[in-house]
Symmetry: C2
Subunit: 246 residues, 2 copies
DNA sequence: CGTCACCTTGAAATTAGTCAATGGACGTGG
DNA sequence: CCACGTCCATTGACTAATTTCAAGGTGACG
């Protein structure tokens, strides 16, 4: 395996990505050490609503979302669709990919965006060779699994209002992590169909529920824009702890 | 890394466990190599319905179930309960534990049983030092995540009949993996409350649905005993591929 | 023989889904 | 600038699935 001295000053592709500051990417870049110039395979752009990969497909890469929103989903024989998770910039789209060459869920863009590919064998090698990469990845997997479990609880045992309130709050919290300050207004590109498919409801019922929130002046979502008017009440409906600073 | 000839004949605790043959445990024992006598910390017995650990608790061990059935669950403020997964002999009860000292779901026995504890730092060291252990564990994590995602789809987008049929079939398939032959009758210790909490239904509705299955002579579940009378029909209801040998 | 956990059944209430029609926003091409 | 198509959101009336409430039954076990 030839390893000619890489030109040190050459920028690695993701150094310019908005997500570069997230720990998720750092542990891979840092772990890869000298071979870091190699691990980033390629960048690709994607249109809104484009399906990047379909469940069951062969896939030799780990995908990281750089710009835009996306989601992982499964479609059923009856034509129904279930969204398993939403993906925001910086998210690993295929967290278990290092250990399998088959993808078990489909991936679709919500907005237009950009993502990059890492060869899964390279990632696997980095994980097995670097303790910090392994623990970083382990934490990420753990978080992701806890999110799935939370959703399972929400969909299994909570009302429509609770589900929607929790979905929105969880996304808002993720958005704020990157911004490191709390906001009340967001660009929010999910359609009511997206929300329905993520909460196990019908879009009609999502529409009605959002209307209730709007009329109670809790939050209003329209035209890809979300405004939270009563954060405390929203947390109360979601059965979540309100933030300390409010 | 010293590898003194270990006393070959000395039995390790889990060598006598019924689950010892599962790959899940092998990758840890094999990976641990010479230190394998150390990694198995301790065995404990548990009574039926005993709660082993509560969500949010500090936990320095990875738990492996040796005998009996158990489940991981979360309880809500309203008194509701959601079961995230059922655990059968040989299952790792805390798969992400190597990377965290806090457990995010509670664990409760369904039947009486026995389990063993592995220090999580030992497991982590094995994972980072042994490629086969890492890939084995990665596969396991991936399977577990896919199961969670399947449940999410089931609960979000399927009817009560489908959910129950799928839950039963998935458990039956796991039971058959160990037995390596397909059966039609099983000892099945889950109560209707368990099934309800795992499918997001009420026990009343589970009772009615099981009655429908009984009257249609598809399967009958009573007194901790499950008999499948029409495997093909059960697969059809579950929207799953029927087994080839039937 | 009583108790406890578990299961069953019926009737009423509620939540969420289905069907169907309408309207708004936005981009595209004439 | 307008006409058109497409995607998205809304509304009402109706229906279906599931929950809730309440009561009673069964089986195991000390």
């Amino acid at each position: 395996m030839p390893r000619p001295n890489p030109p040190v000053s050459r920028a690695r592709p993701c150094d310019t990505c908005p997500h570069r500051s997230t720990s998720l990417c750092n542990f891979l870049l840092d772990g890869a050490g000298g071979s870091a110039t190699q691990i980033w395979q390629e960048h690709k752009t994607a249109r809104s609503r484009q399906i990047l990969y379909r469940a069951g497909t062969h896939l030799e890469h780990v995908l990281v979302l750089c710009e835009g929103w996306a989601h992982r989903f499964v479609s059923l024989s009856g034509g129904h669709r279930m969204i398993l998770s939403f993906l925001l910039p910086g998210d690993m789209m295929t967290a278990t990919a290092p250990f399998s060459d088959r993808i078990s869920s489909s991936i679709q863009m919500v907005t237009a965006g950009r993502y990059c590919l890492l060869r899964r064998v390279d990632v696997l090698q980095t994980l097995s060779g670097t303790d910090s990469a392994l623990t970083g990845w382990g934490q990420h997997i753990k978080t992701q699994q806890e999110n799935l479990e939370q959703q399972l609880v929400d969909i299994g045992r909570r009302s429509a209002e609770e589900r929607i309130a929790r979905l929105v709050l969880r996304i808002v919290q993720r958005l704020e992590q990157h911004e490191s300050q709390s906001k009340r207004e967001f660009s929010f590109p999910l359609t009511q169909q997206h929300i329905a498919d993520a909460t196990g409801l019908t879009p009609i019922h999502v529409s009605r529920t959002l209307n209730v929130f709007r009329q109670k002046e809790i939050m209003s979502l329209s035209h890809s824009f979300l405004a939270i008017h009563n954060m405390r009440m929203l947390h109360h409906i979601a059965d979540m702890e309100p933030p300390a600073d409010d």
